[in-house]
Amino acid sequence: MEKTRREIVIPGEIVGSGSEFLPGEGTRKEGKDIIALRFGLLEKNDKIVRVIPLSGTYIPRTGNTVIGQVIDITFNGWVVDILSPYLGFLPINECAGYVNKNDLSEYYDIHDLLASKVHTIRTRSVELTMKDRTCKKLVGGFLMRVNPTRVPRIIGREGSMVNIIKKETNCNIIVGQNGLIWIKGPSIEEEILARDAIKIIAEKPFVEGLTDYIKEFLEKNKK
């Protein structure tokens, strides 16, 4: 991995000029200059300038795995709170398995936790789907919340970081892109260890060689 020094930019800052770069996510072209539109880390990749957010609420994207709580049941599906500005909606036909249409609460009830995927994004709501092997109703275990901008770091390159934690603690972990993380392990001690490791990652997003540090941390604290 090529190490590039990332610099923090604030809204209105000029991050490039002329035709040298193209404006990417979180930037805009104004006259000759490219300006940053949000607070975050500047990334110049090939010819595209973009700003990686450091803070902010979760904005759903198609294909994201999210963890949400059922807050309402309608005649054709479930309303799911996914901690974003828009509510999630899970229709019956996006549900895996047979659902009794007369009583939807038999399948998923209010307050149930669901790991689901974002199917489509509408103007007012986000449609979810359960037709994926990672999607399921979450029973037992516990839930923790981190800043959604730290999620890519917790998952790591192709899941490297979360896989280390899973392996070392024997826990089942589902990381939602909306910042909710579900942990279930064989014992409470192992769950707490996994939680502490995730907390470290969420608090130190800029440390280099975090994977090795986490490996060390887990081995040291494991009984």
Partner: protein, 239 residues
């Protein structure tokens, strides 16, 4: 203020602000927060959102709406201020909203709301300027899309001098004329967009000559550019 000494009551130069103090991330559970102080005028701002907006009829399907709430803590002034909204705080809330409105890019989050709460911890004149500065930093730290930061400062005329960042003492400055005491202060709250060089708020209390107003605005713009440098510096310093 005596015209001979050419100094202000607290020993400042005419174009000198009080000690500026700024911090971000002061409220843990808010999406973004900031603290900004001009001397003893201290403002704390918290930003929540974009988030769902209810009742639904307030939603705008084209863009998000921006709401600002300004209030003073009851202990912020010498005489206890009754908590809750008042005529004055509603007006200032709207002023802050209008000052911030041109920079926040609301089109990206239709049907949602961005809430900005500003509380004054201690008041010593130009609280609305401190509030705007704090709110703009809090919006940036909340990751809200904006085209630039907003910077505000109060300028004015005390006696015959054009000064920047008026204190309470200067705002109450009176001169004797025909045996009567009359107020001799003009206070202008100015919010400036340093990159596009536009003014987003100009609130004038008192009377001033047009030429002096121009002079005051130019001075305010100069000071705002300096304050923006402080805001940038604070935001760039990570936890």
């Amino acid at each position: 203020m005596s015209d001979k000494k050419e100094k202000r009551p607290d020993g400042r130069e005419f174009d000198e602000t009080r000690k500026i103090e700024a911090k971000v991330g002061v409220i843990k559970r808010a999406d973004g927060s900031a603290y900004f102080a001009f001397g003893n005028s201290k403002a704390i701002a918290a930003v929540y959102g974009p988030r769902q907006l209810y009742p639904q009829h307030l939603q705008n399907p084209k863009k998000a709406i921006l709401r600002c709430f300004y209030d003073m803590f009851s202990f912020s002034v010498a005489e206890r201020k009754k908590p809750g909204p008042s005529r004055r705080s509603i007006e200032i809330s709207d002023e802050i909203k209008r000052a911030l409105y041109p920079v926040v890019l609301l089109e990206n989050f239709p049907n949602t709301v961005i809430d900005v709460y500003v509380e004054i911890i201690e008041a010593d004149a130009s609280t609305r300027c401190a509030a705007i500065n704090a709110a703009s930093m809090a919006l940036a730290s909340a990751g809200v899309l904006m085209s630039e930061l907003v910077t505000a400062v109060s300028v004015g005329k005390v006696g015959n001098a054009i000064v920047v960042d008026l204190s309470q003492e200067e705002e109450q400055y009176k001169i004797k004329k025909d045996g009567k005491e009359i107020k001799a202060t003009t206070d202008i709250a100015l919010a400036f967009l340093p990159r596009s060089k536009k003014i987003s708020l100009l609130h004038l209390d008192g009377s001033i000559k047009l030429s002096e107003l121009r002079e005051a605005i130019e001075l305010g713009k100069k000071i705002c550019t300096k304050i923006e440098a402080i805001q940038r510096q604070v935001l760039k310093k990570l936890e």
